[in-house]
């Protein structure tokens, strides 16, 4: 098993086992935290740091192997399929939350409001409840709140992300044409736009909590709003971190014009968070 023509099978590795240990530490911490144990948060944070450390070590090893030229074209294709299906699994994860939003808006709230054949719930339990979206449910869960409109920050954020989709493509062209300046400028702009997006999102949450009384506890609207935008924001953050790593790899002169799967994988991921955002913008903020 040597030479570049054969498929590279790494011989042995401690990385997955140790990564699992890190994840388990984080999960045990998280579970204890939720159960109200004082040390839970600390254990969870330790686990998170360990996960990042493991990711660093693991990716470093893969990058070294890649730069060392041990991966042939077939390995490259395996990575590509891996990334494609990973992104598909993420799409399905978001689909569950979009499904919840759809169900609440089109089915459970109208029923609670006395629509359709489930009229008795309304009559018996909450006769005063009328279904108007956005809703925090028949008991006014979390108290009155103001809705997060689509104009202002969300619209701006849409613009930011869409632009970042262009800049990352610009960088990709730079990479293919071996134009370093184009590549680095494009990447830098993408990363900057990504982090500005996250900053705005954080600001939006602050406004929502402090001024609008819009919280996780604000019934089904608050639930879907925070879970969808929250998971999305988390993915943008991850994507921006990945882009930053790619940026530094480019500075070091990694990637060839015709062989740069690492770059492309992150670019795909970035487009994926972009598309999810469009869904969010339309269904959470706008409609």
């Amino acid at each position: 098993m040597s030479g570049q023509n054969s498929y590279y099978v790494p011989h042995e590795t401690k990385l997955p086992f140790l990564t699992t240990v890190a994840i388990v530490i984080m999960f045990i911490g998280a579970a204890n935290y939720m159960n109200g144990s004082a040390s839970g948060m600390t254990i969870m944070l330790i686990g998170m740091v360990l996960i990042f450390a493991m990711a660093y070590v693991w990716f470093s090893e893969v990058v070294t192997e890649s730069e060392g030229g041990i991966y042939n074209d077939q390995v490259d294709i395996s990575f590509r399929w891996g990334m494609v299906w990973f992104i598909f699994s993420e799409v399905m994860f978001f689909a569950a939350f979009f499904g919840a939003l759809y169900y609440a808006r089109e089915l459970s709230l109208p029923w609670l409001g006395g629509d359709g054949y489930k009229i008795t719930t309304n009559i018996v339990l909450w006769p005063q409840f009328e279904n108007v979206w956005p809703s925090n449910g028949p008991t006014n869960s979390g108290g009155d709140f103001v809705v997060m409109g689509a104009g202002g920050i969300p619209a701006l954020n849409t613009l930011l992300l869409l632009t970042s989709g262009l800049t990352v493509t610009y960088a990709h062209h730079g990479l293919k044409e071996q134009d370093r300046r184009k590549l680095l400028v494009g990447l830098f702009l993408t990363i900057a736009l990504g982090f500005i997006f996250v900053g705005f999102q954080a600001y939006e949450y602050m406004v929502a909590y402090n001024d609008l009384n819009l919280k996780m506890t604000s019934g089904i609207y608050g639930s879907t709003f925070y879970m969808l935008t929250g998971f999305h924001g988390f993915h943008v953050t991850l994507g921006a971190i990945m882009l930053t790593v790619i940026f530094f790899r480019c500075l070091k002169g990694h990637f060839a014009g015709d062989n740069h799967f690492g770059f492309e994988a992150v670019a795909w991921y970035w487009h994926f968070v972009d598309v999810v955002w469009l869904g969010l913008f339309v269904f959470v903020y706008w409609l």
Partner: protein
């Protein structure tokens, strides 16, 4: 061949030994074996819980355990058998077989492969540890319906996070399977020339990647509902507990096909081998598998007929569910047609495969009964449902796994199991599986509810029979362990082509195969 052997020795000079070998391995055969042994262990742990359940149900009244613990047993039994026994067994078979059936050196992503296995022991340690909590383990059933599941004790976040771990493991494993099948086939092996087992696993992997994240979403919502004040499943906040059921079963029904499609693949491999004929209707098998998989995403609410859905929903889900019977029927027809006029022999794998066809079909028929909405109002949440899914899962999925082990064990180890002991194992298992699960149809139709530790005396006789059967079944599996032990301590004597009617690339390798399966890809015409 001799160069291969040379290589093995070179590879292993610096390889770690003992436990470290297994922790660090990236070899598809090592990982396949880890999966299979792990699955066997879980099969016994889950089985032990089943026996606690059956012991309590042996006679009416409360004798052995308190109801709360009984509920923990039913919940844990299901979670362990589904996620710990059946799924890992199939992944183990995928690991062993896919590379040697498609002519690849190993799986496409070997480190990922190691990772998806090693998540499992941690996840199950976490899950099982909750049984020792003061407030006990999860007790709301494996379906985790709210509001009940939200009212569990301290175990709840541990259970949910361990299910997240299982999901991560499954998704990573499935990604690896897809990448391997799409990218590592020997030259000349077009998609429509792939062994049928490979096809069924390709489609299963797709189902896993599409369904597991949805489960992750559903249980995340449970977690935030309980700990962070969201209202997904609370009507007072505008959500709906029934919404959980929809999301859960959107995962749950594809999941049951995840548990059976690889079994279809195994049976479709074994039946031709011992009928000494080609599989009848290979193409239609592929299309039937694909259509079952796609249909499985639009039938989920047949688990919720009684929950109060609009009439249009009830009818839609009834019809789509019945539609699945068509491709399933195609498969059964093809199996039977494969045997027609074949020169059949009845070695142990074939016996298990034959029993699969008959008994799985019984489960399919009870499924059809359940699919009729008006009838399901009577059957739902009774032992009839328990009988249904145990027929498809035990003499279905589990029999296929056992058949696969008997069929490929000589290939994996180079050692032949004892045919007479294998046959004894088959007959004991088959008799007891029916003694256990057949009476459940009767008590179910008569109205005995599932997941309840006590029952009226009118159900006593059939329950006693089922309990006896369950203990017989459990004990018979000790014979399986003995057969494995007995085989492994033999000398290597098996031929390369163990079964004269078997086809496929795996039989061109030595028994046991070399460490890196196909260093040079074979050519397939």
């Amino acid at each position: 061949m001799s160069t291969n052997v040379q290589d093995i020795h070179e590879d292993h000079h610096h390889a770690p030994s003992g436990l470290m070998r297994w922790i660090t391995t990236t070899n598809h055969k090592d990982i396949g074996s880890l999966y299979l042994w792990f699955s066997l262990l879980m099969f016994f742990i889950g089985g032990f819980m089943a026996l606690i359940i059956r012991a309590e149900l042996f006679e009416p009244g409360l004798q052995l355990v308190i109801p709360g613990f009984f509920n923990q047993m039913t919940t844990m039994h299901a979670l362990i058998m589904i996620f710990g026994a059946v799924m890992p067994a199939f992944v183990g078979l995928a690991n062993w077989q896919i590379p040697i059936m498609i002519g690849a050196p190993d799986m496409a992503l070997p480190r990922l492969n190691n990772w998806s296995f090693w998540i499992l022991p941690f996840a199950f340690t976490m899950l099982l540890s909750t049984l020792f909590f003061d407030s006990g383990g999860p007790a709301a059933g494996w379906t985790l319906y709210p509001p009940l599941s939200l009212q569990g004790g301290n175990s709840m976040p541990f259970v949910i996070l361990s299910i997240h771990l299982l999901g991560i493991s499954s998704i990573l494993g499935a990604i690896n399977v897809i990448a391997t099948i799409l990218n590592m086939r020997a030259p000349g092996m077009t998609l429509m020339k792939m062994p049928i087992f490979i096809w069924t696993w390709l489609i299963t992997a797709f189902l896993l990647i599409a369904a597991m994240p949805v489960l992750a979403g559903a249980i995340t919502m449970l977690l935030t509902d309980r700990f962070f004040g969201t209202s997904f499943f609370t009507a007072s906040g505008g959500g709906d507990p029934v919404m959980f059921q929809h999301i859960f079963w959107f995962f749950g029904h594809p999941e049951v096909y995840i548990l059976i499609l690889p079994a279809f693949g195994i049976v479709s491999t074994i039946i031709p081998a011992f009928s000494r004929k080609k599989l009848f209707g290979y193409d239609s098998m592929v299309y039937a598998t694909a259509s079952i998989a796609l249909l499985s995403f639009i039938v989920w609410a047949h688990h919720m007929f009684t929950v109060g859905m609009p009439l249009a929903g009830e009818i839609f889900f009834m019809l789509t569910t019945m539609l699945i019977a068509v491709p399933t029927g195609v498969k059964v027809f093809n199996w039977v047609a494969t045997m027609w006029r074949g020169s059949m022999t009845f070695e142990t794998p074939m016996l298990f495969a034959l029993a699969f066809i008959i008994l799985f079909t019984i489960g399919g028929f009870s499924g059809l009964m359940l699919a009729m909405t008006p009838a399901d109002f009577q059957y739902h949440d009774t032992y009839f449902v328990v009988a249904h899914f145990h027929y498809v899962l035990v003499p279905g999925a589990v029999f296929a796994i056992i058949a696969a082990v008997y069929y490929w064990l000589p290939k994996w180890t180079g050692k032949m199991y004892s045919e007479s002991l294998g046959k004894l194992h088959f007959w004991l298992t088959t008799v007891f599986v029916n003694v256990t699960f057949f009476p459940m149809h009767f008590v179910g139709l008569a109205g005995m509810p599932r997941r309840i530790p006590d029952y009226p005396v009118q159900f006593a006789d059939f329950n006693a029979i089922a309990s006896v059967g369950a203990f017989g079944f459990g004990l018979s599996q000790l014979l399986f362990v003995y057969i494995l032990y007995n085989t492994l301590k033999k000398d290597v004597t098996a031929e390369d082509k163990v079964w004269d009617g078997a086809e496929g690339l795996e039989w061109t390798l030595s028994s046991p195969p070399p460490y890196h399966s196909f260093e040079k890809a074979p050519r397939v015409e």
